[in-house]
Symmetry: D2
Subunit: 378 residues, 4 copies
């Protein structure tokens, strides 16, 4: 399979285009029955390719310009630890995932991003050669296939992300790097602005944030990265792929420290209307690669694409089944539902949880937050 | 395509087996980009068969013993009104949907149910011949294909459901009938017990409730149906396919009267643990056909199958990617997440909404509730 | 001290006047430092008369037409059990309380009601002679002083209330009787309508509900009493003195079964605007003696008097320090506070709790509710 | 009337004693019917001395070591603007208030503090001589009576507070100064640490925070003041008299910007158990003058005194009517209430609001917050 001649990620971003990213794979495929929570490894690319292909297609149809390979946690050391698959190698998953991403990307105008994430090896060994060897091996898997650029994602120590970028840059392909950190900085307290500077100096073409915190908090963190780059006189494109949940309580540790993680997050899920607001905020902050991570389902990505319709000049395919701002409700049989076919209604609605015995905010895991706090200079 | 030799729905229920139903199609496919909210018509069976097939597969994998044809609102009069498709006929959709359901059902030990729902014609004309003609036409579509039994669902006037049952019984196949009513009765105030009696007298083999209200409320309504049948000396199997949302406020009109319907229901979504409780309550009430409707995603159906594992003697395929009661969290990297790998944690958790400016209960559309109330004798 | 010549309670009610009751003493005096929670006995009438006098005055100033003697739980058997006072007799308290009530009542146009409440003896002995002897002793204390009528209050078995009424009627003075029961009936499941009939047949001139449940629920119960009386062809005046807290969860057992009772009820306290709504509902239900019980502070009574200003033809003295519906905010220094000087603002406000980790509804003490439920026929 | 020989405020604080302040007057007297909301002027000292005296007594009985004169907003310019009283002069109120405070203080071991608050003149004229003349006049009223020290309170520009301190120091009496500001600083963005330095340099013996924000936030602000003083090598005693409401939303403007201000704050009221936590935090922060402001009722002050019982060596008089941590519930008639007679129960309770249609957090008045924000350097 070969890539059609299409414009690369940097061409698009350099031209000032809005690039819509795809949504989250592991949480959604967990709910569909193909990923094991706690492990979060992507063996479904080999075991159930039709399920992965279908989710790729839904994101493409929702407006995504990038299809990320379903290769989260797909380093050999992580696969070993999880013990989730014994008869499939990391290389097999990486290669199958590249094929699936390419197949679907070619059904539209999308690019394929080869994705790597943090390694257990980093925390365990703290050895630059060992960690880099792991990233090198995964990169080689990708390079045997046809991908357009790389994304380093879900790394919470900037040092590890820098090592990953340094490896991936040797491929000659563009590299994006997103940390899963809060406005307070990385796990060692390195502030977002300085993280961005280090990543760009290491060669990253695009920097930003993914996962762990809600969209508006992630926008704040990317703004701090941008300010850091400006202060240092550096330039890079900005990207963002936040969590699709309301998580006001976990400013430091991210949503894994919430009591609801990972099996009772339903009530925190964002609506499509929340995503309109997020996309606009991200755009206004100067971010041009706007996608999602855990919790982002296809209709959330469609909401980004619909909010960006004027800037991009078109609606995504899935909008044929979606009236903007609820317009399709105009023909509902109940008059009070018809009355909801307008932007003001949905923008101002404060949705009830239907759970009167539940609080609106929880208490995140204390120890973790405290540990992080002790790393962060105030 | 032809059905393998497998035991029919009545054979299974007569033998005392627990039959796990599938989940909801229209809401889930709306979020995946293939169904238009407000219209809710199933043209995706023709337009995007891969998306419908994949969702069927996920429900099968989650443990469903029945695959329902994706034919909701697929009567010609409803399709005309919605105006959503002009180049596809109802017959084309019905036939494509039968093929898809059969294809997936045959991948496991599942039956195909041909589904009909309420017709606009009933409220408009109130004409028995006209309504019956519509059901007859849809039945004929199904009979050209290979289905195992019929389900009448989402009807809120028992009279219309009776007419549907009378038509479908002429096929010689078993018929299940589920009303979308509350414990207060149907739209004209006919109490659940009497509704059940009328349906069984019309020929229904299985009766129960689907959609519109949350699981535990629907269990209460089915119990009232059961009591009505017992009082009348009648026998029938009981089924239930409730809403997958917490809806404590809409005791009469159902969830369409909630302010969040249909685009901000996220926060009301039930967790998998809520479904364990529901499945157990339904089983204890004597219900043996236990499934879901709008809001039930594959992992909710898996939760039913896991709760019923002892009664059924096996776990569903999708449980290979799911530790019971969170057991797979035992190998999570964070110690406080590992501590959640046990039943007590999830059973007692009161999930927070992360939305401190939102209330926990809303105010349903008043006019509708009042109108219904006036029909219901107190 | 002697009563001025003033019109009696029945003269007023027979003339169709709205009689405003006073508010709750024990909870308010607990917060002021003079009553011991758990005991709830009224020895402050002897120990700290200035504190009781001041609260009487505040209720008078707020518009009350009746000053109730501060004699709650002031039967000898209850005082013995509580062990709260050893050097003061019940007779001393009753007499001191009568003097205080009379002193303040005479400062305005108010009547003095001598109050008796349920006795521990009833549940312990279930002996009519014993219980009646206790009520007789308390009545005699009152008759040595100058009171205008009697109120039996806070009784949850109608049988005991009937006994109390039978005793007090021997005084020749009017008797009002209020039960602390829910719409489901008394502790033995006697429905409100039948309770009212029994009380009126025993001689009660005024019947109704006090304490234990929130205002609108108590209005519902009084309506059931009224319907019972009408069905039986009986006539009596209606009175109501509900709880000043939001208690949607405790339909059976009342607020003592709430987890917040008695030291964390703050968050459930009703606003003055809630009281406007309550007073109007009570009036519309035909109730003409409208007051409050636990949780009603002077400003809540003022709100009743302000809502009833048109019907009564005057405002209470304390309204000189209160603009109707917030009118006095017109001269506030902050413009956004000035904007709140209107009825619509306060009627439509949904006040936030400022407690994002707290739920909106609690779980009442199960055992008690279950025990009661078993007494109530469904 | 003359002061008994008792130890002064500085003697006590210098000796390391915990001084318990009194609670809030204007809000509580508004609810009792003697103060007009929006005006908040203290004419009740003349019009209804018995009401003011009673509230003083309740605070004394609850454990207060200081009785503040009821002279809030009692400068001539404020009284003129409010137009609330025309026949009483500021001097008359100030003098009557001194007599009432002294009368009650002498009933126990309490001191009298003469209180001044911010003047409308400051914002209007910004004239040092004019503002100082107003403070001088009020000081002279106090000096004609017998007071022990001065408190400047409820000032949100440190400059105005400095002017007040400079005037009051000419009396030779000790001066305490509390600002109503947030951790972000005063209305012009002067940080708390610098505010403290300026006040101490102006002569204040005690500095701290009062009103406007909830207790734990006020403790944070006082800590910042303390740090500022330490950095500057200055010494002063610390005091705190915060709001008695949960106000997590109004970090800048304070509770007047909350939608519930001033007539629907009930649901935000703190419990006595919240006050235990607050008193402990304040003590741990090195604050030794610990009282309350708006929302603090007598039982809240008692809670401070009970939490500080070990440090002070005694319980307040009102504790004779209060079992510590609910101990008096041990003799309640209901077993599940008896089970609440222990510290763990009340410390861990998350009280429900009983208002399922209300949110847990509100949106403060935007314009004001924005205006303040623009003054505060980030």
């Amino acid at each position: 399979m070969e890539s059609k001649k299409r414009r690369g990620i940097l061409e698009r971003l350099n031209a000032g285009e809005v690039v819509v990213g795809d949504g989250g794979y592991v949480l959604q495929l967990e709910r569909r029955g193909y990923v094991k929570a706690g492990h979060w490894t992507p063996e479904a690319a080999v075991e159930h390719p039709e399920a992965v292909r279908q989710l790729h297609r839904e994101f493409l149809r929702a407006g995504a310009n990038v299809i990320q390979t379903f290769t989260f946690y797909c380093s050999e050391d992580k696969l070993d630890i999880s013990g989730n698959v014994t008869n499939i190698t990391g290389a097999q998953i990486n290669e199958a995932a590249c094929d699936l991403a390419r197949e679907v990307a070619n059904e539209g105008d999308a690019l394929v991003a080869g994705c790597v994430s943090k390694t257990p090896c980093y925390v365990k060994s703290h050895s630059e050669p060992e960690v880099k060897a792991i990233y090198k091996k995964q990169m080689d898997d990708f390079l045997r296939k046809d991908i357009d650029f790389f994304i380093v994602e879900f790394v919470d120590h900037v040092e590890e992300a820098v090592w990953a970028v340094e490896v991936l840059k040797t491929s000659g392909k563009p590299v994006g790097a997103t940390l899963c950190i809060s406005p307070h900085g990385d796990m060692r307290g390195v502030p977002p602005g300085e993280c961005a500077v280090r990543l760009v100096k290491a060669g990253a073409d695009i920097v930003g944030i993914n996962c762990h915190l809600d969209p508006l908090t992630c926008v704040r963190t990317v703004k701090l990265m941008k300010a850091g780059l400006e202060k240092a006189g550096l330039k890079a494109h900005l990207m963002i792929q936040p969590l699709g949940f309301h998580t006001p309580e976990c400013n430091l540790g991210g949503y894994t420290s919430l009591p609801e993680y990972p099996f009772a997050l339903e009530t925190r899920a964002m609506t499509r209307w929340d995503m309109h607001k997020y996309a606009r905020e991200a755009y206004n902050a100067g971010i041009r690669y706007i996608g999602g991570c855990c919790g982002f389902e296809p209709y959330h990505i469609r909401a980004i694409a619909e909010e960006m319709a004027t800037e991009r000049g078109f609606l995504p395919p899935a909008s044929e089944k979606h009236g903007l701002w609820g317009a399709a409700l105009e023909m509902h049989t109940k008059p009070w539902v018809r009355a909801r076919s307008r932007r003001e209604y949905w923008e101002n609605l404060l949705p009830a949880s239907g759970r009167p015995k539940c609080p609106s905010m929880g208490t995140p895991g204390d120890d973790y937050e405290k540990q992080l706090e002790s790393n962060i200079p105030t």
